[in-house]
Symmetry: C2
Subunit: 383 residues, 2 copies
């Protein structure tokens, strides 16, 4: 696939699984996949400077349409140079459609075939979001990739609910694609990804892939898999959808997740991920390391002169001790959250880098064995 | 003056004033003076990475003994590599003695000839601080420069109060100097600066200089001048003290201040400054610029695509618009405070740099005329 500055080139496949290593080219540069996209909700990855993000290996950032529509508003973003200008980030950016936030945190007033009416969390005003409006808002935000407006069902195991939401998602995609094309579409340097729904039901997922892929889009996403369901349901949803998605397009699993989730999904052919976990955990003093998960507020770290993760090359681990990080956490100093944000993101990016190297070398399952158990352990200061 | 890794070399004097341009060498490198020291209260300049501080021109940092004694405690700092280790800062560092904080914000239980007993703001426990203990604590913190424990009078215009506090400061200095020498002193790579008190009284200031300078110290400070008195009282105190201080030692005016204060003091022979204003203002969305002071929360900046200060080369002004800064301020994003912190410090450092260039060129008073009025104006978005 190669069009309008977008391309997707598979370089290697894993002999043992459906994993692939590829490059996703965008108008703002390439993304080597599998890749993790840090979340910059309100046009900033909380507590991180763009230069530092680049240096720790961030390739593509995500921003949230819902939050940016409320503040500062998409027309303000447009006037300030779009998200690339506002974020001082000249690499690729993706915006979600707002659907997930509207359905998960919005004070929803009404869902109709036309769209969703919800109450602003900022000023209580009523806002209508439709597939067309989501396209328009995201055009103003001007990321490289925009997401179609979908209906994300709150309970992925309620078949009736899921079925209705999935069908509506398909009809909304139809409208979104049409409006995206009518308003310049890919010619404007902006891709539209469709979102597969279908909850925890294999047949609904398969049918959703067929419906979504009836549109020739630059990429496809799997949605509705990070809404509190268990790991088995997530695996099932990805297993049902991923193999049916076109081989020559990027596949994005929305809102996932942990190292274990990454392997589960990558083995099933997923290329792109985003999740607030590394950045949110960082601000709550939780660090992902190659040895396991550490809570830096623990008194046991107070006098520990060792680096957080002896195997990490990030600005936090090469310069600061666990004792200093504990001091910064306990005193609520901004620097604590800043350093752990860079560290956690570096951990996720290095994991993806190792996965990208393991795929062509046929070592993906061996890497999984080496990494997953270790990185999910809850460590004490004595460990 | 040149001893134990410390030196003070005057390179140029201003023909019209008592200003001098010099280098203050410390065991952790040189400081080109006049210089402004950013305040890193709890072993971190709030919201700033050390690399960024270095790049915007920070030479020497300050940390607060009072806060670090309470948390994490000086013995923890020692175990974590001293302040240089904890702060990941290999340049010069200065610690205050804790006196200013004890007298200005401590819940004081008792002041005696021996020292001060006060209540910890962290856990309510009783803490005794004496001239000897201040030396010991600061030795554990291991900055390049430590300050003598002084009695900073709360009202610089109350002659009886000031006189008693100043005399006590001298007796405490005597004890501090003795204890500093007995415990290794300058041989350990740590200078002790004495502090001149005397409030707003010329004769008390002059007498205080005589008493303090009877000790052959590596540097001298003027204290008690940033406790709410008016600008005229501050000028008087500096005028009375500075000319009597030895020519070949650095002179540090504690807790000052604004661009106007800097010129007032530098013209009277001051070399070093510290103040929380640039960093604290930054976190309150206030920016110092070459055009004046701007409050970035103002709605009028919402769509302003211009840089905060078109004359500034900092990471904030070269990458972000006023509109983006306003968005980050209104949404309370960490990045807003981080960027304005670097900007405000860069403004202060560049001002000092211009002053250092103006002194040998005989342009100090011309620079003052150019800078002071402009930088103290309160600007609106329309300006």
């Amino acid at each position: 696939m190669n069009r309008h500055g977008f391309a997707f080139t598979v370089h290697a496949r894993c002999p043992e699984t459906a994993a692939r290593q590829a490059t996703f080219d965008t108008p703002h540069g390439p993304v080597s996949t599998p890749a993790f996209m840090p979340v910059g909700t309100r046009a900033t990855v909380k507590g991180a400077m763009p230069r530092d993000l680049r240096e720790i290996g961030s390739q593509m950032l995500l921003a949230n349409t819902y939050h940016l529509h409320l503040r500062p508003g998409e027309e303000v973003v447009r006037k300030l140079g779009g998200l690339h200008g506002m974020m001082a980030w000249d690499g690729p950016i993706l915006t979600d459609s707002g659907g997930y936030q509207v359905f998960s945190m919005g004070d929803i007033n009404r869902v109709t075939e036309q769209g969703v009416r919800f109450k602003s969390i900022v000023d209580g005003s009523m806002i209508d979001l439709t597939p067309e409006r989501a396209v328009d808002i995201q055009q103003a935000l001007a990321a490289d990739v925009q997401m179609a407006f979908d209906h994300c069902p709150s309970d992925p195991t309620d078949r009736k609910l899921v079925s209705e939401a999935t069908d509506r998602t398909h009809r909304w995609l139809e409208r979104g694609v049409r409006h995206h094309r009518a308003t310049g579409g890919e010619d404007r340097g902006q891709a539209l990804f469709g979102i597969v729904q279908g909850g925890a039901f294999e047949d609904l997922r398969a049918a959703s892939v067929d419906a979504v892929c009836s549109h020739d889009l630059i990429g496809y996403a799997i949605g509705g898999v990070s809404v509190g369901e268990d790991r088995e349901a997530m695996r099932l949803a990805v297993s049902a959808a991923a193999p049916r998605l076109p081989e020559d397009r990027p596949r994005y699993l929305m809102g996932v997740g942990t190292p274990r989730d990454f392997f589960d999904a990558i083995e099933r052919g997923i290329d792109l991920f985003d999740c607030v976990t590394p950045t949110r955990h960082a601000r709550n003093h939780m660090a992902f390391t190659t040895e396991g998960i550490r809570n830096l507020r623990n008194q046991g770290y107070a006098e520990d002169p060792r680096p957080l993760d002896p195997n990490c090359d990030c600005p936090c681990c090469t310069q600061y001790s666990r004792g200093t990080l504990r001091h910064l956490s306990v005193t609520q100093e901004m620097l604590g959250g800043m350093l752990l944000t860079l560290h956690n993101l570096r951990f996720f990016h290095r994991l993806m880098q190792r996965i990208r190297e393991a795929i062509p070398a046929g070592r993906l399952l061996a890497l999984r064995d080496e990494v997953v158990e270790a990185s999910s352990r809850r460590l004490t200061p004595e460990d």
